[in-house]
Symmetry: C2
Subunit: 326 residues, 2 copies
Amino acid sequence: MKISSKLLNVIRQNGSFLIAGHINPEGDAIGSILALALGLKKIGKKDVYLLSRDGVPEILKFLPSAKLIKNSPPKKIYDVLMIVDCNVPERTGFKDLTGKNTVVIDHHIPPGDSDSAEFYRSLAASFIDPHAAASGVLIYKLLTALKIPIDKNIAVNLYTAILVDTGGFRYSNTSPESLQTACHLVEAGARPWSITKEIFENIPYKSMKLLGLSLATLDKKDGIAWMTTTADMFKKTGATSEDSEDFVDFPRKVKDIEAAAFFREDGDNTFKISLRSKGRVNVEKIAKSFGGGGHFAAAGCKVKGTLKEVQEKVFSAVRAAIKNAK
Amino acid sequence: MKISSKLLNVIRQNGSFLIAGHINPEGDAIGSILALALGLKKIGKKDVYLLSRDGVPEILKFLPSAKLIKNSPPKKIYDVLMIVDCNVPERTGFKDLTGKNTVVIDHHIPPGDSDSAEFYRSLAASFIDPHAAASGVLIYKLLTALKIPIDKNIAVNLYTAILVDTGGFRYSNTSPESLQTACHLVEAGARPWSITKEIFENIPYKSMKLLGLSLATLDKKDGIAWMTTTADMFKKTGATSEDSEDFVDFPRKVKDIEAAAFFREDGDNTFKISLRSKGRVNVEKIAKSFGGGGHFAAAGCKVKGTLKEVQEKVFSAVRAAIKNAK
């Protein structure tokens, strides 16, 4: 997708920039806004304000210039408000965020409601490409179009953005374009192993210990693999629910199953359940039947009861879904 | 690195080819020999024999044309013996393997002993580039130099080769060249997620169960994280040592450590130990002091004794190495 000359002109002709990512930011949001800010500074834009309502997650603090990011909005009005890796002001966590000109740079599909339509009409320019694997790819293209040289610090930020949003070049959005961009970023000085180590090889001991105790409960039956983290395990390891965020990946990786489940005891006779499909079972439907939600292949819900009661309810729903899918 | 016209001519001017990978093959060996064979067939070479002494590992059986691979050598002498992803006949598991012409295509550093020197003098041609991330990259270059179009089946084999040898584009050998090649292979029809699923998301239940029991033993002290798989765990799960091949990755991923160790009880009062460094400690030296070997950051050895005795010996050596590295 080509970048509009409108967007290039808005950047060239203005002096001050407020760049905002989305709430609960991950590597693509943080890496993209940092790279954009570093790039703009290279062409003499000294007045750049970087905003992330929820700051920078611990795991991303290694990113070059991460300290520039602020978590409260500026007092003054900037020439250009740049909304990055999301497509409406609400997603930045500050719905009244404004600028003399507003631009959106994003790879998500824009919302279709009438409020949003009005917002889109008000934009000075935009660069929205839902086919891009990450906003990092779009920022790379924008900097290149602005003839800004990609230095090592920019490259590390953009490589991280693409790495995170493609799940380490694994997900189906790993396009030729994303690999080509990654290639240029490595040429520019990004070091895949050193970035990978920060993102995927830097797990707190308590988190890995919690995984060990939880994975020991792994079980399989009727096409379902599952594991459980109990309140007692959290207590024993000092870990929190954040530490168990990707645990459902382990039962999901088991061969010859249709669905995976992860049960997390949240205390108060309640379990949080994460569900994953291997491709044929719609786990969103199952999660919805328990008042939860999600997507076809990844969904979640909360169910009250003892572990045994909760598992029986969930397994019975999954078994029915597997039967229907056949 | 450029391909010699000698190599191109040996291929163009001959009709029959014996292509051999190495013992204990992984994705790079199997993917590379398959892609080479499929490519040669496209330019009319009908007489191609594919050899892998240890066959095709279960996890790689999805590779296009994997069934073509045989595990015993042919009766006749072929025009060209092509040794791929290794650099001496011994590594194919058949030290007397021969051909009217022999070529080596590999990305490992060739051995420097006098026997090997003689073997290298006898070669009709070679394509050896230790800077290449995988032999798959070299095969891609060779097929391109031979003007063989890369179809989907070739692309899947080569993508898998590169994916496996770069640890999923994570290790430090993830060069611009390897990402560029991966980009072309995705353009040619390789699907990253479908290949990733086969390689990284298809773990036998018994193997995952063994991981669960083993990871529950995770411990950390003095900058070392470690875990243990006992003979009893193998018995309980029905898993074999093959199932525990990557287990050392888990202690290695623990934050704020210098070295990781994995202890595997091999029965007979013996433990197989895998050692990993986070970058400062030379674990090869430690492994060598116990009669083992490896590289700076990844090494292994066997030590006799009870688990407690073996761990004390190893930890004391690692502690000393950490102290020296400071």
